[in-house]
Amino acid sequence: MIQVSVLTGFLGSGKTTLLRHLLRQPAFARTAVIINEFGEIGLDHDLVEASEDSFIELQTGCLCCKVRSDLAQTLADMLDRRDQGRLPPFERVVIETSGLADPAPILQTLMIDAKIAGRLVLGGVVTTVDAVNGASTLGREEISVKQVALADRLVVTKSDLAIGTQPQLIGRLKELNPAAPVLRAHYGALDPRRLFDAGLYDPGTKSLDARSWLAEKAHAHRHDAEITTYALVREEPIRAVTLALFLETLAEHCGSDLLRLKGILNIAESPDRPAVMHGVQHVFHPLAWLERWPSDDRRSRIVFITRRIPRPWIEALLDALDAEVAETEAGAIRRRVGEQLQLRG
């Protein structure tokens, strides 16, 4: 499986500078980069030098608008050319979005397009935030808020230029996305291993990168106007049927307002092997099953990043569905017992 990471961030937030630095690192060899530039004359790809083992594909137009066809086709072509030996055998893909792109449709495409999804795995979302202008951008541009809210890693750039304002900015980032570690890049320099180990679940190692988003601090309710982050915690195992109905209802009623959902679940039918859940809007990955619980904490924990979806509705929904499924099960048992008693009589 080839890991695909999404590098996003608002216009001028330092994505290209960061990428240029990363591609110079030996650890980042054999990386394929897709740069999405918005505008008739793209410049970013000229600013990035790729090593011999890496290469750059360019897409123009807004990736998030044309994403299903263009991005999927670009990735599929790259995989074909790699298989045929016409491209270096890249081991990682980084997609640098345009500064105006919504990352959610890009994540969806990576998850659902059959041409690519079987060979590629989402490695996480890295969002750059400019230390100088980041706070005002977050106050002004909704897409910037969404880019931050969806991130697995946040990188504050240009921090040498705005030393005094950083505590406020960091506080704001923590409000918007308490689970994502905040890293600082100095002239684009940053250890790439800290950035691109952000995948929720590594199918190769069957391990879970969940320390950050399962941290207790991520359970606190934070809010920003419309985008909210919260966690649902359940002590009791959740029945598989309840989970299926829950996800169906979330998808049906929340649609694009369910920005992202990640969770580790104690499924009643599989108490010793937790399930990892990951969804973007109405698209969900199949559950991934871990070999064992990563700690003694066996509670189900689901982290939601939403727009205008109140937490009490989510909680009431899960409670009501669970009660209904429990009743259905109890009714079925009663009927079976009744039938057996009739047979014996």
């Binding site: 049906e252 009431a316 929904l317 009501a320 209904e324």
Partner: protein, 94 residues
């Protein structure tokens, strides 16, 4: 089971808030009554001889619902005409 209508009442009350619909949700004699936007909706447990769990009566017309998922779908369609449901999609396995 007595707790079932309470869960349903709470879910419907929270649903109105989530959909930004002004209205009320009350429980009486095992039936949930929703009043909003000149609509009256009654939700009652289905009789045991029917293949439904719930009977939903919206402005006098009664239909069955096999689960709360279906109840929510019917209620929202009545109260939120601009609502367009999304279908869940499952990603290609990695």
């Amino acid at each position: 089971m007595n707790t079932r209508p309470d869960h349903v009442r709470e879910l419907l009350a929270q649903s109105l808030a989530a959909w930004q619909v002004t209205g009320s949700v009350q429980r009486a004699n095992g039936t949930i009554l929703v009043r909003a936007d000149a609509h009256e909706i009654r939700i009652a447990p289905a009789p045991p001889d029917l293949p439904f769990r719930w009977m939903v009566t919206i402005d006098g017309r009664t239909r069955g619902a096999i689960s709360l998922v279906a109840v929510l779908r019917q209620v929202r369609a009545a109260l939120d005409p601009g609502y367009a449901a999304s279908r869940v999609r499952i990603a290609v396995p990695s």
